[in-house]
Subunit: 341 residues, 2 copies
DNA sequence: AATTAGCACTCAGGTTCGGTGAGTGCTACC
DNA sequence: GGTAGCACTCACCGAACCTGAGTGCTAATT
């Protein structure tokens, strides 16, 4: 019946909320007392039996209360929770804290700390990705007799450099012209258009010089498309040490997973592709062995409309989802705003 | 008597070595059996009483074995241990692993992981410091109507950038000339000489332009002297989760301390000043509340003779000092070699 | 004088063992 | 369908107990 179905979901919600708060398996009695469900504990027991049948909750052992399963949390997140709203005071605090940053590094670090603080969990901030950001400026610098330094400055303020070994000493005026034309060709373009524009530019050069131009073009596209350069910053790792995680078993694998930046990056980008808004992976959904008992909440941020990178919060599956989602969303929003200016 | 003094130190050494290996308080009996001291347990008991009197060892509780104190470890490190030598195979492995790095970031990361792996502890690598490195190249880039980007490239391959707001659109040819002269003035110079050279250069300009030149000079010296930009990379944090540290009490403060990069940096630079070679701080000697139960072993590394930065390993006070010292020294040596090329 | 053997003593850690109570599932009833 | 009542289960707790590693001291030995 629809009515009792509804109540069962209410019970599930109550279980999740209670368990998140107390960190103890929750029984039918406290459930009936503390949460205003308006039915007796016996009824709740029946509902719990059904919920357990469906895999939303489980018993750690007979004669203990129930604990939500990954599936239970998933249901809670998808259908049962309402996102907390931040007060304007909090919003202001976030904004001014982020606005105090002096450069990109600082912005990213501050965002991480802030998020870690707000959630009491581990925050992870991906640096604005090169691939999805545009080129603001390109510079060629003669380093020595036969070395050329290519410096790339992106939309988001990142600076990347690469050196090229040359066959012969470069001609200064030639380089000045080349730089101007490269900049004209590249200005503001995203990776895909950039590549064709650069190839076209190389074609206009005499075969003698074309080789060099092509090598520079290669360096540019390669650098911009290189995912491995993407960096991640963690904050609040210390929060793991309390959080009530089961220690030897749970903590070490998590720390290991966090240190594997490549794997983390994959997870983040994968999640970014799932949907545009806030994404939640619960327990085993992360597909990472080390994170089976943790959940991760992410969302994109970026200087303009579409996201250039991802920010997120990692904590035990038993975490405050509404609060975490709200915090991640809020920090991402102000982060985008700061980067946009 | 001298002979029994010697034996007492032998006993202390044996206690440290045994305790490091077994992680359990060591008693007089096993000591007499396992280590070739050639005396009975009763004698050792007497010696231990003296050692305890002098503060080198302590009992966790009555009827338990003895455990070295910070003072005991200090004695061990200073006078009782001989540094392990690496086999040439190991040396080669270290060198090739580091040589495989593609850029500075990669070198630093690899060095950290390597050291963490070798010691089974947390490795900390300070980025080559700006202050102590020279300027390889300087570049001026016009960003927009009124913005100038100053890019600095250091000896060690680091790139730093700063933007300047201008009163009026810059003159391109003026900048080209300025860039050439700045580079000439700055090339290869360390911070101190650089400052005077730049002031001298500014004086040669017409008052109209002098302001801009001075601002650029300020940016350069400021950036190069700015310690806060110094970064630290950690590796092997996961090793903390085993290591047999007492959890809630010991782990969290350590993680917190490790996240406070500024404090860590201070400790590293402080230690670098202590002496030129390998430095060891044991337990409370670190002066950091979070690290009272950990020791840190550091040494400098750098592209040329004198050190430009520090690398180190952090672990429980009860760690394998000879092994750790050897590892830190070896990695620092090859790190210097790589950076020197 | 230094070393050793012997011995009484201490005490942390493990084990056993009821007791307790939270929590459950089931059945009979409303 | 919801509720009350009840018998049953079992993790957790504390007490009592045992064990054995380790000690300090004293007296004998070299």
């Amino acid at each position: 019946m629809a009515a009792s179905d509804d109540r069962r979901l209410d019970v599930l919600r109550a279980i999740v909320e209670d368990y998140v708060q107390t960190r103890e398996p929750v029984g039918s009695k406290v459930l009936a007392e503390r949460h205003g469900l308006g039915v007796s504990s016996a009824t709740i027991r029946n509902d719990m039996a059904v919920l357990e049948e469906s895999g939303f909750i489980a018993q750690p052992h007979t004669s203990a209360g129930r604990v939500p399963t990954d599936k239970g949390y998933r249901m809670f997140v998808d259908r049962l929770s309402t996102v907390k709203a931040f007060s304007t005071a909090e919003k202001n605090a976030i904004e001014t804290f982020l606005a105090g940053a002096v450069d990109l590094d600082d912005v990213v670090t501050r965002a991480g700390r802030l998020l870690a603080q707000l959630t009491g969990q581990v925050a992870v901030v991906q640096y604005p990705s090169l691939r999805r950001s545009g080129l603001r400026h390109l510079e060629l610098v003669v380093l020595g007799e036969r070395r050329l330094l290519v410096v790339l400055i992106t939309d988001t303020g990142r600076v990347e450099q690469r050196t090229l070994e040359l066959a012969e000493p470069p001609d200064e005026t030639f380089l000045i012209g080349l730089r101007a034309r490269l900049n004209a060709a590249a200005a503001g373009r995203r990776l895909k258009e950039l590549r064709t524009a650069l190839t076209a530019l190389a074609e206009t050069y005499h075969p003698v010089d074309r080789d060099l131009v092509e090598r520079i073009a290669d360096v540019i596209t390669e650098t911009l498309s290189q995912e491995s350069e993407e960096r991640i910053v963690l904050a609040g790792t210390a929060n793991l040490a309390q959080a009530g995680m089961r220690f030897e078993h749970a903590l070490r694998p998590v720390l290991e997973a966090l240190e594997e930046q490549v794997v983390l990056l994959n997870l983040l980008t994968e999640m970014a592709e799932d949907s545009a808004g806030v994404n939640v992976r619960i327990g085993r959904e992360t597909q990472l062995a080390g994170l089976f008992e943790t959940s991760i909440v992410t969302t994109g941020y970026g200087s303009d409309g579409d996201a250039v990178a991802t920010i997120g919060s990692i904590g035990p599956t038993r975490m405050d989802y509404p609060g975490t989602i709200a915090a991640v969303r809020a920090v991402a929003r102000y982060l985008s705003r700061i980067l946009g200016s």
